[in-house]
């Protein structure tokens, strides 16, 4: 935990880091939802509302029955608030955590602080797990705070037309608490291994995007599914993701070598 603590303290002391983080979370969880939902709420019988109504009609019964609202506008607002914006909850933490994680080990090497860690009694698995926690926490924290604000915005903008506060739905709770954390962990377990192997932070960021993109696509689909059908399947998906994350983390922790923390390996 000492490793994670030092990294987190360092990250949160760095304005260069947390100001873009807050801007990104604020944009996706507050600004875009607020304007989108306010705009939809003010529309009556527009083409957009008609299109959303048609789409809902084509969805499976279990999903279309879950769409609340008496009027077409209210149902369109519900669809946008609950279904369309759901995957944001995956994109934000993955992007933030990937940015931190990609620099985690190669950054130690570039700064020279890896030399201190390499000569320390910390086990490489402790260093790996510390880095993983320090990369996961900012992304998840931003998501949790952003999600809370998102819930308030949704309830304030859409809630009145649906008879009161209704958000978060069961699917969203499963997503936030049970499904998102292992997906971040899966991405980070791979990103940290890349971070240990590449020669520069720039290369690490390039490589991490190759890992993050497919995971975002998969998790986007999973998130949409969990929110639309928040039954046992969501719990199962989360459980499987936790097992995969656990295996990848264990593998990653065992493969980190101490010499990866040092400067140029051939330096004598």
């Amino acid at each position: 935990m000492a490793m994670a603590g030092a990294d987190l303290r360092r990250l949160f002391k760095s304005k260069d880091y947390w100001i873009p983080l807050m801007l990104m979370a604020g944009l996706f969880f507050v600004v875009i939802p607020f304007f989108s939902l306010s705009m939809i709420g003010s529309l009556e019988n527009t083409q957009f509302v008609d299109q959303v109504t048609q789409i809902v009609g084509q969805l499976p019964d279990s999903v279309s029955r879950a769409v609340a609202g008496e009027t077409p506008t209210a149902r369109a607002s519900y669809v946008v608030a609950v279904f369309l914006l759901a995957p944001i909850a995956i994109i934000v933490p993955l992007t933030i955590s990937a940015a931190v994680g990609s620099n985690a080990i190669v950054g130690e090497r570039e700064r020279g602080t890896g030399e201190f860690l390499a000569h320390s009694p910390l086990k490489t698995s402790e260093i790996y797990l510390g880095k993983l926690i320090a990369s996961l926490v900012p992304g998840y924290l931003a998501t949790f705070v952003g999600f809370s604000l998102y819930a308030v915005i949704v309830n304030l903008t859409v809630g009145p037309s649906l008879g009161g506060w209704f958000f978060p739905t069961r699917g969203w709770l499963i997503l936030i608490v049970w499904v998102i954390p292992p997906f971040i962990a899966i991405a980070l377990s791979l990103i940290l291994r890349l971070s240990a192997r590449v020669r520069s932070a720039a290369a690490a960021q390039q490589a991490s995007s190759l890992v993050t993109l497919p995971i975002i696509i998969v998790s986007y689909a999973v998130a949409a599914g969990v929110v639309a059908s928040p039954g046992a399947s969501g719990l199962w998906i989360g459980a499987v993701a936790w097992v995969v994350a656990g295996l990848l983390i264990a593998r990653g922790a065992s493969t980190l070598k101490r010499d990866r923390l040092l400067g140029v390996a051939s330096e004598t």
């Binding site: 030399e115 201190f116 390499a118």
Partner: protein, 310 residues
């Protein structure tokens, strides 16, 4: 000081290769317990790799390493708990304060906050502990690195070019601190290519070159091995009278260097030489044996090995 039979560090035929670069090759040396051992050699001699192999940060390809009777490959965690390292360019988390960096080190080395305070005080860095390390000067960073390295009171301290980039005053104070640690019974390994740095504090010298230990031993022993013939410094009011030394029996070589440095076959000849010089009209002002500096020894060892290699 304990004997060489009881080493803090022992390298036996150790080889470490990076691609096509043989960083250390068949390296043998011993760093005695409670002594200051100086790894002396030019850049690229393999000193940093040797430090990294000692703590197990790097794993040797061949050979055997013992540190405090333990093996880095299997007992690395225990060795790292009992050693402290000051790297050539000490790096810190620059956004954190000096105190936060020391706290981090105390946590991972199972040291206490009291020990962190003591270390900061000993290295005269306590007044800057509230500042972010990013604003530290090179000298402050080195002092913080030294404080960090001794926070857990290590039995072995490995210092890799600890005075690199320091002004002479700061460098001297760092060397004094190293000498103070040595006086408290710690085993110290100091890597340097600066000969004057090792002068006076080295109990044991290992001359490294191209990954090999070319020679090792206490400076006096090395001096008697590489500079076996006694050298006497003569000076006189009438210096020209000293030229007659070249004709005296038992004088191997003379060189003007302020006075005359006369290399003798043996010291038994000295009374006859003095008497001869006085009889020859020399008004002597100085007759004293030359104690070779580490620098003179170093270059003599290098010359000797070049001749052997040739």
């Amino acid at each position: 000081m304990k004997s060489e039979m009881d080493p803090a560090i022992r390298f036996s035929a150790v080889t470490k290769v990076f691609g096509r670069i043989r960083a250390v090759e068949s390296l043998d040396f011993v760093a005695p317990v409670g002594a200051v051992t100086v790894l002396l050699g030019p850049n690229g001699a393999g000193k940093t790799t040797t430090v990294r192999l000692t703590t197990g940060a790097l794993v040797a390809d061949h050979g055997n390493i013992e540190v405090l009777g333990l093996h880095p490959k299997t007992d690395g965690d225990e060795i790292r708990r009992r050693t402290g390292v000051v790297p050539p360019k000490p790096a810190f988390y620059d956004q954190l304060t000096g105190w936060e960096n020391l706290q981090f080190a105390a946590r991972i080395f199972a040291g206490t906050e009291a020990a962190a305070h003591d270390a900061a005080e000993r290295f005269a860095i306590e007044d800057a502990l509230d500042q972010e390390v990013g604003g530290y000067s090179t000298g402050m960073r080195t002092r913080l690195a030294l404080a960090r390295a001794v926070i857990h009171d290590p039995e072995v301290l490995l210092l890799d070019e600890p005075t690199a980039g320091l002004d002479p005053e700061s460098a001297r104070s760092v060397l004094n601190l190293i000498a103070e640690l040595a006086s408290r019974g710690r085993s110290i390994v100091l890597c340097t290519h600066l000969l004057h740095e090792a002068e006076g504090i080295a109990d044991h010298v290992v001359l490294m070159s191209e990954g090999h230990a070319r020679a090792a031993g206490p400076p006096k022993e090395l001096a008697s091995r590489y500079m076996p013939d006694p050298i006497i410094i003569f000076d006189a009011e009438n210096r020209q009278s000293l030229n007659q030394l070249a004709d005296f029996e038992g004088v191997i070589d003379i060189q003007w260097n302020g006075g005359i440095h006369a290399t003798l076959k043996d010291l038994d000849r000295l009374p006859d030489l003095i008497a001869g010089l006085v009889d020859g009209g020399a008004r002597l002002t100085r007759v004293e044996p030359l104690v070779p500096t580490l620098e003179e020894l170093y270059f003599e060892m290098q010359r000797s090995h070049r001749e052997q290699d040739a």
